[in-house]
Symmetry: C2
Subunit: 208 residues, 2 copies
């Protein structure tokens, strides 16, 4: 946990709302983002408010609005940070195309295996299941930033659909392994999972 | 929605808790179950109480405890009803084993396509994501009643693991199609999905 800063940490300019280059600018922006991610993860979409995020970040609610806009836009920014590791997929395609299934399976399992990257992902999925607004934000993000990126690299019919089929398998596996904790999947060696999942991903992404 | 019965609907025996064969017995049991399923689906695991279920069913909370025990046991019974259509998988295996992937994919897509069977499933998944107790109940149910049943029919190494891999794909597909509503998957013809998913399920369940 990053300790929340207080407004007294840095000198404030009088009579003006904070500016992007203000003393508490980039630092405050990051603190707000950290606080938002933590609040959405711990409390869920519904119970998180811009006011609560501001309080946790030690800034004024107006500053949250200034940097991130509405609650939904704040949620989108938090998703963006949560998915950052998952977004590093494009370079994988420039490597060995014959093993892209294994590369992607390995990449996603690594993200899910790390509790630091897993928790925010689960929080986002949880929010999407309970709130239409959160589902809308996640949909737009997933399609534009993650699945769209993967689909753009594919040479198969209906590439978006194929990318979604691959993603659905990874999401479902994560649900059974980390949420439901269904055995033997929950205790399986990641390599065992990759060995089974990789050919499926490979088929979806490359088989014409 | 079934109209909730009131205690006045049937004569009550004085001075004794309701018995299984009491006038308000089997009927009341079903009413309680209907109310429980509706409450867990609408309000989620957390906000549902035995007292609230009793009120909605028009019975005394003691009768709920009498028939179903604790809240978790009540939840397990509601899951059981919600998954009833999914449990009808065993006969599929006695049919053409070479097309079991397609049969299962078709069976599960049909369950998810029907709003009446989809809503309670989503409610259960939502509860599992937000409450450890609900996840535990779902895990025990899934393994014992659904995946265990499928695994028992398989002739592959590590059949439980294989059944979970197949299930994870179906669950993830449902999440992207019905919760996130990611296009083109959300609007795809069920047959298109079955055509892509079936070979994957087939491979997991039969390929040695």
């Amino acid at each position: 946990m990053t300790p929340a800063g207080t407004p007294g940490d840095t000198p404030r300019r009088r009579g003006r709302p904070a500016r992007k280059d203000a003393g508490n600018g980039p630092g405050a922006r990051q603190q707000i983002l950290d606080a938002a991610r933590a609040q959405f993860a711990e409390r869920g979409y519904d119970k998180t408010s811009v006011r609560g995020i501001a309080k946790a970040a030690g800034v004024d609610a107006a500053l949250v609005h200034h940097y991130f806009g509405t609650k939904d836009e704040m949620f989108a920014a938090a998703i963006e940070v949560s998915f950052e590791p998952a977004l590093l997929v494009t370079p994988l395609f420039t490597a060995d195309r014959d093993h892209i299934g294994e590369q992607l399976a390995r990449h996603f399992i690594a993200i899910w295996e790390n509790p630091a990257t897993r928790a925010p992902l689960l929080a986002v999925i949880r929010s999407a299941l309970t709130h239409e607004a959160a589902a809308t934000v996640l949909r737009s993000f997933l399609l534009r930033r993650l699945l769209g990126r993967i689909a753009g690299e594919l040479d198969v019919p209906n590439p978006e659909f194929r990318a979604e089929m691959a993603a659905s398998h990874m999401i479902g596996t994560a649900f059974l392994r980390y949420v439901i904790k269904a055995e033997p999947l929950a205790s399986a060696d990641p390599e065992e999972i990759i060995a089974l999942v990789a050919p499926t991903i490979q088929r979806y992404l490359t088989e014409r």
